[in-house]
């Protein structure tokens, strides 16, 4: 327009690759609206929400996370799939081992949308947990849209559970957990009481018992099979083997064998998904499987020890409090 008849001056482009920070803001509003349009309640968690409450330093996330009321999780995922998003390929055993979260990707977007039906470490029934977090919700602006987020103590629990769970970056997890601890230390007694009550109601009090106690928050918990599975997961370390081991707790033998077989010797489709650059030859896939088997064997002693400890704890009496 300024140059006269150049029609490209007023072009509205679709093709430009989105900056990551912009994409995460838009994707958050997009995912929340998609859920709302379906009548599904959702809460944005982690990322900017944690920064908003001073639970971590502001930084650009690589994805956006929304926690959807569990009964609507599949409907929200399907609605996003109809809009061009697709599930991030992952090992079949891993997908079966993590049924509560779906990572979605899109060719035109540089970020993932992680749709959670449940957040690991909240050991109460997923619907009960969601309802408790929803009851204390607030709103935070994403791309000009007011999106529901957990309240302060709910966000603290999410951040703490994220921090105590093994991750690919132990240093970052430790740093983030320390930030949550500092934030808890700075709260008043009423807030700590609300934190304890919400931890108990959502079943986060067991997984977070040592952490909460360290920061002067006393919350009751019982040693349930879910808590034992959690302890196996966290004791197994940030490994795939540890993740698989945690899913074996309390499962029938048939299911255990199925998961172990998938983990040990994945299907050709799984190998292709996880290694898209791999030549489509049987020898190449076999080499990947053998490498994987070697890594799994190296990680197994820790996971097996955690499983054994879990079995030894089965006869333990319930714990009345975190201390």
């Amino acid at each position: 327009m300024t140059g006269g008849a150049d029609s490209t001056d007023t072009a509205a482009e679709h093709s430009e690759m989105l900056p990551l920070a912009v994409a995460v803001e838009l994707a958050t509003a997009f995912a929340t609206s998609t859920a709302t349009n379906l009548g599904a309640r959702s809460l944005v968690i982690k990322g900017k929400v944690a920064s908003h409450y001073g639970l971590r330093k502001p930084r650009v996330s690589a994805d956006t996370d929304i926690l959807v009321e569990p009964t609507k999780h599949l409907a929200v995922v399907e609605a996003l799939e109809q809009l061009g998003w697709r599930e991030r390929p992952m090992w079949q055993a891993s997908a079966e081992a993590s049924p509560y979260s779906t990572s979605l990707i899109h060719d035109a977007w540089p970020c993932d949308i992680d749709v959670h039906a449940h957040f690991p470490g909240f050991l109460a029934a997923p619907s009960d947990t969601f309802d408790r977090l929803w009851d204390d919700r607030r709103e935070l602006d994403f791309a000009g849209v007011a999106c529901p987020i957990p309240g302060q103590v709910g966000a603290m629990l999410v951040a703490a559970l994220h921090g105590v769970r093994p991750s690919g970056s132990p240093d970052r997890a430790a740093s983030e957990l320390a930030a949550v601890g500092t934030a808890i230390d700075a709260t008043d007694p009423d807030t700590r009481e609300r934190l304890a009550l919400l931890a108990e109601a959502t079943g986060a009090s067991g997984p977070l018992a040592p952490f909460l106690a360290e920061h002067g928050v006393t919350a009751r918990y019982e040693l349930t099979p879910e808590l034992r599975a959690w302890r196996v997961l966290t004791a197994g370390g940030a490994t795939y083997t540890g993740n698989v081991a945690s899913t074996l707790v309390g499962k029938p033998l048939r299911v255990k064998l199925h998961l172990v077989r998938l983990a040990a010797w994945p299907s050709a489709d799984d190998v292709r998904y996880a290694n898209p650059e791999l030549p489509d030859r049987r020898s190449a896939r076999t080499w990947v499987r053998l490498q994987r088997l070697g890594r799994g064997a190296a990680q197994s002693p820790k996971a097996i020890a955690a499983l054994a400890r879990s079995r030894n704890q089965e006869g333990d009496a319930p714990h009345d409090d975190a201390t």
């Binding site: 327009m1 300024t2 029609s7 007023t10 482009e13 989105l18 920070a21 838009l26 509003a29 849209v145």
Partner: protein, 94 residues
């Protein structure tokens, strides 16, 4: 031309890098990725605020840019048609 132009709602909008990234969040909009507006496109879009008609937007742009009215009017009309095609203008204005 005599009806004030208005954007659809809800929209997700992020301003960055001298551009605005816009995504239609309405159910059934079908928009799968954001539209990127910058330069004159962003100038026109910024004036679509529910109070200005197309003629008033052209007046404002002529005053701001100092360009010929005929050129501004044609480009504005073309771009508003693009916005209508994208479904970003409210039905009453379209």
């Amino acid at each position: 031309m005599t009806t004030p132009l208005e954007r659809v709602r809800p929209l997700a909008r992020v301003a960055a890098n001298d551009a605005e990234y816009v995504l239609d969040l309405r159910a059934g909009s079908g928009m799968r990725e954001p539209v990127v507006l910058r330069g004159p496109a962003l100038a026109i879009w910024s004036l679509v605020d529910g109070t200005r008609t197309e003629a008033q937007i052209v007046d404002q742009l002529v005053e701001t840019l100092g360009a010929e009215r005929e050129v501004v009017a044609r480009d504005t009309s073309d771009f508003l048609a693009t916005l209508r095609g994208l479904g970003l203008l409210a039905a009453a204005a379209a």
